[in-house]
C-alpha cells in the first residue's frame, strides 16, 4: 500500500516475492482509484477489439470477416442512400441516448427507452386515429405532445417505484418494455388495425399532414433537428443552470449532495420524466417520419443500442452525436450483410462486445504497472 502521493492505491502482486533476502526486482500492478477519467481513445480501442473478437465468430461461420466488415461499412457509409439511412437510424439513437445519458448522470439506470419509445409511437398514432382531420401544424404538434407525454408517463412508472418503494429501476423499466411491446401488439392486431390492410397487423397509413417533412427525396426527416436541438438544450442545461449543477453534484457524490440539501428523489423523478419524454419524441419521430404507420417491430432495439451509445459517448453531448451516427451505421451495416446470407444480429453482437471492452478498458486504465526494487527481509 502506498499513500506517499496522497493517492488511495492498492496493489495486486503479480509475481510472488521470493522468501529469501536480497534486493529483487518486482513488477506490481497497482490500482489507482484517482484515475477516474479514462482517456478519449478508450472507446476507439474498444471498438477495434470488438471488431476483432466478432471477426472470430464470423470466421468460425466460414465467412471472411474483412469482406463482411467492408460490406457493412459500404452499406452504411459508402453510398448517399446508405448515409441518409444511417442518419435516419441515428435520430432515435440520439434522442434515446440523450435521455439515457441524463438519467445515468445521477446513476439512474434507465433501460426502458425501448418501451418509452414504443408508447411514444403509440400515443402519436392515437392522435392520427382519433383526430384524423387536423391541419398539418396542429396534427404534428399534438402528436409530438402526446409522444412526449406518453414517454414521460412511462418513465414516471419507473421513477415512482424507485423513489417511493425502493424498487430497482433496472427491473421496472425492463418489465415495462415488455408491457409496452405487448400493448403495441394488442393495438396493431386489435382496435387500430387497418381495415384495408389485407389483414396485415398495423395502423392505417398516415396522411401527408400527419407525416414529418423529409429532406428532398430521401427518408431523412426533420426529427434530426429535434435531436440536435435537444442536445444543445441538454448541454446548456447541464452547464449553465442550477438544476444542471445539482445533477452534476449528485453524479459526483450523492451522499454529499444529500447533505447539501438536494432533493434526490425529486431529481430522480424529473430525470426519468425527461428520459422518457425524449424516448417518446423518438417514437413519435419514427412513426411520423419513417414508417408512416404503427406496426410491430417499430424499433429494432433502439432503446438498448442507445444504452451503449450513451455509455460510449461518456454522457458527453457532442460525443452522443458522433456515437449515434456510428451506431446508426452499425444497424444499417447489419442489414446490408443480410444480402450475403448473414443474420443482422451481427450488429447486436458487435454492440454487446463493444460495451464489454469499453467497461473493461475504463477499468484497466486505472491499473498502473509499477517496477520497483524491493528490499526483502526475513530470509532463511
Amino acid at each position: 500500500m502506498s499513500l506517499e502521493n496522497g493517492r488511495n492505491t492498492a496493489a495486486v502482486v503479480l509475481e510472488p516475492i521470493p522468501a529469501y533476502s536480497g534486493k529483487r526486482f518486482s513488477l506490481r500492478l497497482e490500482y489507482d482509484a484517482s484515475r477516474i477519467r479514462s482517456p478519449w481513445w478508450t472507446p476507439i480501442v474498444s471498438i477495434i477489439l470488438a471488431l476483432l473478437l466478432c471477426a472470430l465468430f464470423i470466421a468460425a461461420n466460414g465467412m471472411n470477416p474483412v469482406m463482411v466488415y467492408e460490406k457493412m461499412f459500404r452499406g452504411a457509409f459508402g453510398t448517399a442512400y446508405g448515409l441518409t439511412e444511417t442518419m435516419v437510424k441515428a435520430i432515435p439513437l440520439l434522442l434515446c441516448g440523450l435521455g439515457i445519458a441524463v438519467a445515468y448522470r445521477i446513476s439512474v439506470w434507465n433501460i426502458g427507452a425501448e418501451g418509452q419509445l414504443t408508447v411514444g409511437a403509440m400515443a402519436a398514432t392515437a392522435v392520427t386515429i382519433y383526430f384524423p382531420n387536423l391541419s398539418s401544424f396542429w396534427s404534428l404538434s399534438l402528436m409530438l405532445l402526446f409522444g412526449i407525454a406518453a414517454g414521460a408517463l412511462w418513465g414516471l412508472l419507473t421513477a415512482i417505484p424507485r423513489t417511493h418503494f425502493g424498487v430497482n429501476e433496472l427491473i421496472t423499466s425492463l418489465m415495462l418494455n415488455y408491457v409496452a411491446l405487448l400493448a403495441l401488439d394488442y393495438v396493431v392486431f386489435g382496435p387500430w388495425k387497418d381495415p384495408k390492410g389485407f389483414n396485415f397487423p398495423g395502423s392505417p397509413m398516415f396522411t401527408s399532414a400527419q407525416s414529418l417533412p423529409v429532406l428532398g427525396s430521401t427518408r431523412l426527416h426533420i426529427g434530426l433537428l429535434f435531436g440536435l436541438i435537444a442536445v444543445v438544450i441538454y448541454y446548456l442545461m447541464i452547464r449553465f443552470t442550477k438544476w444542471g449543477y445539482e445533477l452534476r453534484l449528485i453524479g459526483a457524490n450523492p451522499v454529499a449532495a444529500r447533505y447539501a440539501g438536494i432533493h434526490i428523489k425529486r431529481h430522480i423523478i424529473i430525470v426519468m420524466l425527461i428520459s422518457g419524454g425524449l424516448a417518446g419524441i423518438a417514437g413519435m419521430a419514427e412513426v411520423s417520419g419513417v414508417t408512416h404507420k404503427l406496426m410491430q417491430g417499430i424499433s429494432p432495439g433502439y432503446g438498448y443500442t442507445a444504452i451503449i451509445v450513451a455509455w460510449l459517448a461518456k454522457l458527453n453531448p457532442l460525443g452522443l452525436i458522433v456515437t449515434s451516427v456510428l451506431f446508426g451505421g452499425l444497424i444499417v451495416g447489419g442489414y446490408s450483410v443480410q444480402t450475403i446470407g448473414l443474420p443482422s444480429s451481427i450488429s447486436e453482437m458487435l454492440q454487446g462486445s463493444i460495451l464489454f471492452f469499453l467497461i473493461a478498458g475504463d477499468m484497466i486504465y486505472r491499473f498502473r504497472i509499477r517496477h520497483s526494487r524491493v528490499q526483502l527481509k526475513g530470509g532463511r
Partner: protein, 309 residues
C-alpha cells in the same frame, strides 16, 4: 385431471427455468456480485443446448456444453467485476446485449428445427401411485428433480455449512472476511461461475421442457423476471422455490385462461407476470421500508483490499 392439478404441473414446468436462474442469481449475489446478465446467459444456454443437441443428438453432451459455455461467460463477468472492479450493472447489461446478439447469430441456422427429444422424465413407480401428488411428480423430468435437490442442497450449503458462512461473509463484509483469512476473490470467482452455469442450465431447461425449438429471443424476459425473483425470494433458496412456482403458475394461468375462451385479449394475459413482478417488488419495498431487506450488504460494491471507504 382436474384444473388445479394441470395448473400445478404447468406451474412447475414453467417455474423450473425461473427456479434454476433464480438459484444462480442467489449464488452470485450472496457473494456480493450483481448478476444482471441472466437474460443473456439464459439465451446463450438455450442456444448452446439446441445447437449441440441437434448436431450431436446427445443430450448429456448438450448439457455439458451449455454448462461450459455459460461458465466461461461467468468467468468473464467475474473477471470484469472482481479483478477489474468494473461497474457490475454495466457488465451485466453488456452480458445481456452480447448474449442476445450472439445467440441470435449462432442460432440462425437451427432456428425452427425441432429438438431430437425433450428432457427425459424420471419415473418413480412408488411415487406415481400416490393419489394426488403422484400425477404431479410423474410429470417431472430429470432437470426438475435436479432443481428441487439443488434448492435443498443450496439451502443447507448457505445456512448450515462453513462454506456457506464464508459465502455470506464475503457478500456482507468482504473486508472482515479477508482479515479472517477467507479468500474473497476466489470465493467470488467460484460462485459467479457456478451461478452463471446454473442460469445457463435454466436456458437449457427452457428449450428442453418448455419450448421445443430455438427462436430468437426465446426467453422473453424470463432472465429479468429471475433477477426480480432473487429480490422477491430475499436471497433464500427455499423461498426461491415458492416464488418461482408462483410465477410459473402466473405464466401458465394466462395461457390457460385463453384456452378456456376468455374475452380478455391474450396480450393482456401475457403482461401479467411482468406487472406482478413490479407490483410484488413495490409491495416488498413498502413492507420492508424500515427493515433490513436481506440484501447482502456489500452487493455491488467492489472489494479493494487496503482501501478505505
Amino acid at each position: 385431471m382436474d384444473f388445479t392439478t394441470q395448473l400445478l404441473i404447468a406451474a412447475i414446468s414453467a417455474g423450473t427455468p425461473l427456479l434454476l436462474a433464480t438459484l444462480g442469481g442467489i449464488l452470485n449475489e450472496r457473494a456480493g456480485i450483481i448478476q444482471l446478465g441472466a437474460e443473456g446467459l439464459m439465451l446463450m444456454g438455450a442456444v448452446t443446448t439446441c445447437i449441440v443437441y441437434i448436431r450431436s443428438g446427445n443430450l448429456l453432451l448438450a448439457l455439458l456444453a451449455t454448462v461450459t459455455i455459460t461458465a466461461v461467460l461467468g468467468l468473464l463477468h467475474s473477471f470484469l467485476c472482481v479483478t477489474l472492479r468494473a461497474n457490475q450493472t454495466m457488465s451485466g447489461l453488456a452480458m445481456t446485449l452480447f448474449g442476445s446478439g450472439l445467440s441470435a447469430y449462432l442460432g440462425k441456422p437451427i432456428s425452427g428445427i425441432p429438438l431430437p427429444g425433450t428432457s427425459p422424465k424420471l419415473h418413480l413407480v412408488w411415487l406415481e401411485n400416490v393419489p394426488v401428488i403422484g400425477k404431479i411428480f410423474g410429470n417431472m423430468d430429470y432437470l426438475t428433480w435436479f432443481s428441487l435437490l439443488l434448492v435443498l442442497a443450496l439451502h443447507l450449503l448457505i445456512h448450515r455449512t462453513s462454506w456457506g458462512l464464508h459465502l455470506r461473509a464475503v457478500g456482507d463484509s468482504p473486508a472482515t472476511a479477508d482479515v479472517m483469512g477467507i479468500r474473497v476473490q476466489l470465493i467470488r470467482y467460484s460462485y459467479v461461475i457456478i451461478g452463471a452455469a446454473l442460469i445457463g442450465l435454466a436456458g437449457a431447461d427452457m428449450v428442453l421442457a418448455y419450448a421445443p425449438t430455438w427462436n430468437e429471443g426465446l426467453t422473453a424476459g424470463r432472465g429479468w423476471i429471475a433477477v426480480g425473483l432473487v429480490i422477491f425470494a430475499r436471497w433464500n433458496p427455499l423461498r426461491a422455490l415458492f416464488c418461482a412456482y408462483f410465477f410459473g403458475a402466473l405464466d401458465s394461468l394466462g395461457f390457460r385462461i385463453q384456452l378456456l375462451g376468455s374475452a380478455v385479449p391474450p396480450y393482456f394475459l401475457k403482461m401479467i407476470p411482468y406487472l406482478v413482478t413490479i407490483l410484488v417488488l413495490m409491495y416488498l419495498g413498502y413492507r420492508n421500508r424500515n427493515k433490513p431487506s436481506g440484501t447482502p450488504e456489500s452487493l455491488g460494491v467492489p472489494y479493494i483490499r487496503e482501501q478505505r471507504f
